[in-house]
């Protein structure tokens, strides 16, 4: 247990306060005003289909938006507003108080530098550790990530190790300086199914050990259920539902969340005889340049009314938040409603 970690455990302020975050380029607005807070050490899952703005949200927090994209709004972190910071000021935070793990570990590591060098240079950049000390810490990180033969790994190049190992190196690099927040953007999508679980388990324990808060971006709901305390569901650049993972997943209030949950394959709803009951949400995610008026989900929603077509619903305040004019009622009522609508 290191000192900063203990300090942080007592300090229960928020590691991130996002207010009215908008991400746009000259023609499109991909993230259309989102708000959320994340307490120190907290873990939030961010779900949504591809194109919902999850990745751009994450990149805007890091100040790593692709060329042409711009973020507005406010992102409070560690006493500053990240949006207002220069690239130089942000760069001194990236890798130190904020870090990120990307989707594809092969393309994300520098192909021409040794792995040990890549990780230890992060430590040397942000701390006053010397070369020896940084290498020692790197080895420690490799052990934390259960990487085999860490000494040899130090001298290896990214192409010489497996995909799962590469992603573990990426995680080690992200955690090297005990960041207050780590953002993992679909960290296992590019990996073989067989190693996904292992990498997630290691990510889970390592984040815990380092005392960082976590934002987990994925479209894989069970991962969120296993790793996060809260979940935010994004649709077409807005958060449509937010709350504690267990509650949201047990009784979703937004029709989109419900559809998303029902379209996840589980052992219950997979049937090989063709009678599969796996549901899917009708229609497609609307393209950003032609979003429907009102609630962006209304063309695909069975409960849509005239109001949904004209007025944009906002997230109501509270621990359990939904942006919907006709939220699904609590389980007890839902059962009754289900009975009514089935007839």
């Amino acid at each position: 247990m290191t000192k900063p970690q203990q300090d942080r455990a007592q300090d229960r302020t928020n590691v991130l306060e996002v207010a009215n975050l908008v991400v746009h380029n000259t023609t499109l607005t991909a993230v259309r005003g989102i708000d959320f807070t994340l307490p120190a050490g907290g873990r939030m899952g961010l779900v949504g289909e591809s194109g919902s703005g999850k990745t751009l949200t994450a990149l805007s927090l890091m100040g790593l938006l692709p060329m042409g994209w711009q973020a507005n709004g406010s992102v409070r972190h560690d006493g500053v507003d990240l949006i207002a910071q220069s690239d130089k000021a942000l760069s001194s935070r990236r890798g130190r108080t904020l870090s990120m793990v990307f989707q594809d570990p092969l393309s994300s590591l520098d192909p021409v530098r040794r792995i040990g060098q890549q990780v230890s240079s992060v430590i040397r950049r942000h701390t006053d550790a010397g070369k020896k000390e940084a290498e020692r810490q790197t080895l420690e990180l490799f052990r934390l990530m259960s990487l085999p033969r860490p000494e040899q790994l130090m001298r290896a190049y990214p192409h010489e190790i497996s995909g799962g190992q590469r992603q573990r190196v990426m995680i080690a690099m992200a955690l090297a300086c005990y960041p207050q927040l780590i953002i993992a953007d679909e960290p296992t999508t590019a990996l073989d199914v067989t190693v996904q679980k292992q990498v997630l388990r290691l990510l889970n324990t390592a984040v815990q050990e380092r005392g960082s808060a976590l934002i987990m971006i994925t479209h894989d709901l069970p991962i969120i259920a296993a790793m996060c305390d809260t979940v935010a569901v994004m649709y077409a650049g807005k958060i449509v539902e937010m709350g504690p993972v267990a509650e949201v997943f047990r009784s979703p209030r937004h029709h989109y969340t419900k559809g998303l949950l029902e379209s996840q394959p589980t052992m219950d709803n997979i049937a090989l005889d063709g009678s599969s009951r796996l549901a899917s949400i009708p229609g497609m995610v609307p393209p950003l340049h032609s979003l429907p008026k009102g609630c962006a989900f209304h063309p695909r929603c069975s409960a849509a009314t005239e109001r949904c077509r004209t007025e944009i619903p906002q997230l109501e305040p509270g621990a359990r938040r939904t942006a919907c004019w006709h939220p699904i009622a609590a389980p007890a009522e839902a059962a009754i409603q289900a009975g009514v609508s089935a007839s």
Binding site: M62, L64, G68, S99, D104, S107, S108, P111, M170, A174
Partner: protein
């Protein structure tokens, strides 16, 4: 790495062998009776036969080829038909002009192209990026000799700062030699730069879109720092290959620039010997140039192996 080096060495030797065969067949085969060509139309059959005999030109082609290769391996590049000078002497005397010219031209080209190309890549879609793209597009269309002519019109004739041509040898005055090289190097360098800028730009552009550059920034580098520390190293990989390919072009440019500025370099000698149909001189000089180009390409491949760990282990 050892296997990689070995493969490249085998290719190097094979390339030289095939190139020598091609040159030999082209000159001896397509040229017909060499002795007759050398002596010109008015020569008597006796004179032709005598010349052919002296130089072994009456031997079977295979024998001539192996004689030539054997002699070259022992350092004997043959002699001029007319002046009986040794080709090796002719060549070495000219290298003190040609090599500084070609090398400085290439270096100047790179010194211009790398920063300008990087700048252009960073400013894609902006007015300054578009202007740079247009300028380099025009630069590529400018023949190197015209660039030379224009530069000598401006700096030599109009301003009178530098000689419009001619050569002061290193042994006479080092400063004078440098002065006579300035405009030639400038012409060659500018035109090389125009060609290279486009490659640098697309190499940097490619690297800028790579995930590892984003990672470099994600762990604490600024945009510029990531580009310079991580990006340029990775962009240098395709560039090394391009520079290797440009060597052939550099030699072409050097030949022409030597003519524009009347420099007594290798290519002026070549041109004079082409005009005089000095087949042996041309053949051996050409072979030397080709060996040089292939050797540079070998070096480039080895350098690539050093720069890129993936190449080393995969091949």
């Amino acid at each position: 790495m050892a296997i990689y080096v070995l493969r490249k060495l085998v290719f190097f030797l094979g390339a030289i062998f095939i190139a020598s065969l091609a040159i030999f067949l082209l000159i001896r085969g397509a040229g017909g009776n060499v002795a007759a060509v050398v002596l010109g139309k008015g020569a008597t059959p006796e004179a032709i036969n005598a010349l052919a005999h002296t130089y072994g030109l009456d031997q079977p082609l295979a024998v001539q080829y192996f004689d030539w290769v054997g002699n070259m391996l022992s350092g004997d590049l043959g002699r001029s038909f007319r002046t009986n000078e040794r080709v090796s002497d002719l060549v070495t005397a000219r290298l003190s002009v040609s090599i500084p010219l070609a090398l400085s031209g290439l270096i100047l080209g790179l010194l211009i192209a790398i920063p300008v190309g990087t700048y252009a890549a960073r400013n894609v879609g902006t007015p300054s990026g578009a202007i740079l793209a247009l300028v380099s597009q025009i630069g590529v269309a400018v023949p190197v000799f015209w660039a030379g002519i224009l530069l000598s019109l401006l700096f030599g004739v109009r301003l009178g700062w530098l000689p419009t041509g001619g050569w002061t040898d290193w042994s006479v005055s080092i400063w004078g030699a440098i002065r006579s090289l300035v405009l030639p190097v400038l012409s060659l360098g500018l035109i090389m730069a125009a060609v290279l800028i486009r490659y640098v730009r697309s190499a940097v552009l490619d690297v800028m879109n790579q995930d590892y550059l984003r990672t470099a920034r994600a762990v604490g580098m600024t945009r510029t720092e990531a580009l310079l520390k991580v990006g340029l190293r990775n962009a240098s990989l395709p560039l090394v290959t391009i520079v290797g390919l440009q060597i052939a072009e550099l030699i072409g440019g050097t030949v022409i620039i030597e003519t524009v500025f009347s420099l007594p370099g290798l290519s002026r000698m070549m041109l004079a010997n082409v005009a005089a149909r000095e087949v042996i001189v041309v053949q051996s000089t050409v072979m030397l140039i080709i060996i040089f180009v292939i050797a540079v390409n070998l070096l480039v491949d080895l350098l690539y192996g050093i720069l890129d760990p993936r190449v080393r282990s995969s091949r």
